[in-house]
Amino acid sequence: MSFLRRVINDLKKYREYMIFCIKSSIKLQVAGTNLGYFWWILDPLFFMFVYTVFVLVIRGKTNPEFPIFIFCALVPWKWTATSISGSADSIAKKRGILEQIYIPKFIFPLMDVVINLSKFIFGIVVLLVLLPLFKINFSFHIFEAIVVVIVQGVFLIGLSLIIAHLGIYFRDIRNILQFAIQLWFYMSPGIYTLEYIPEKYRFLWWFNPMTTFFYSYRNTFMYNCPPLYLNLFIILIISLILVIIGLIIIYKSDKNYTKVV
């Protein structure tokens, strides 16, 4: 497929630009704040605290590992939420430079996913520090989390490409995404386990890739067993298809985006 060759050529040609862009964007994320990079630690910790309190209030008790249980889901969830909500805008906000010079547009959603990945990795480091604090023994299985990260990455890139394209033509997408993401979180077993879902509906949850991701991360970090390889494989195939579709539609409109006013 010669279009794949075009992708690879573009990636090679714009490699230095992308690396520089990603580095400066990351620096920019912390530039406005006083605490800077420290927020990347505080942020997931605060949410862990909030959800633990929430569940305590509702159920009156939790088991001692519950905060980690949530944390294992919150960090990957944050990566998903920020990548998806940011993607609607990722090409549109670059209008200024796109009117000056040609840049293959697909690199923008791609860079956003990578920038959010760096925050994700930070969160994982915090998680690794928390694990012994909550007396959780972990084993070599945590390295298998890398597979989950890769599959989640491909999935997010695929979705981001498509949403970024739609975001140029349908301004409403950004509003819709707000609700969609909220709903998606509550439809994912982030702060609850699947046991709370009545058996006959449980299969629906498995259509949601986040279910697989959450369970896989928890398996590797908390329960010393492997991630859900079969599910991950299926998600990977679907994600690769999404990536290819995304790349095709972005390339087709590549030089038409700026004609849209």
């Binding site: 430079i97 033509y169 301004r171």
Partner: protein
Amino acid sequence: MKKIIELDNINLKYRFLKNMNIKQEILRLFHPKRKISKLKEIEALKNISFSIYSGHTVGIIGGNGAGKSTLLKLIAGVFQPDSGKIIVRAKSISLLSLGTGFQSELSGYENIYLNGLLLGLKKYEIDKKIDAIIEFSGIEEAIHNPIKSYSSGMRQRLAFAIAINAIPEVLLIDEILGVGDQAFKNKSNKIIKELINSNKTVILVSHDIGTLEEVCDKILWLHKGELIQYGETKEVIAEYKKFIKEQK
């Protein structure tokens, strides 16, 4: 001498998205026959054909809304025509225009790298040139401040300094020859003249007939998206001046 830029029957329209939202699209699904207010379109370029030889300097003139900036952006690769063919046989093209394509949150220093990389320079090449660029732009210490704190003159000067140092094969200049104080104007005019006299191709949009007469080999006259005339500078300028007189 090769034809470095060739346009054949180019048409280009701008589309206005005011009416395109999800509500409309969903309504359209339920009432396919319902007349949805048409997307407003503007024909920016109509049936444009011409070629430019490498090393030439071509000026583009025309009233407001003639399509001059659109034409430059088309050549720069920012747009794709709706129909027709455009061939550009240059490895690097630089477009200098009134917007500057900077990331305003980042510093001038970082933007030099970003823009330089986009213009085809490698990082090590920019490392070597960065001091020259900063000096040419006259920005000095403010170079490490975010671009959003710069005056528009500073931004233009910086954009100019970067684009010039990228030494593109084709340089497209959109009406920014009048930027900066006298010292900067002298510097930039000198450089533009050097580029024009060299083997680089320069395409310039300007309302300054005097400059165009001085430096251009050929002039392209656009009016409301159509090509009125393309030929030797003296001829086209004469016709253009006649046209302007008749308007009065």
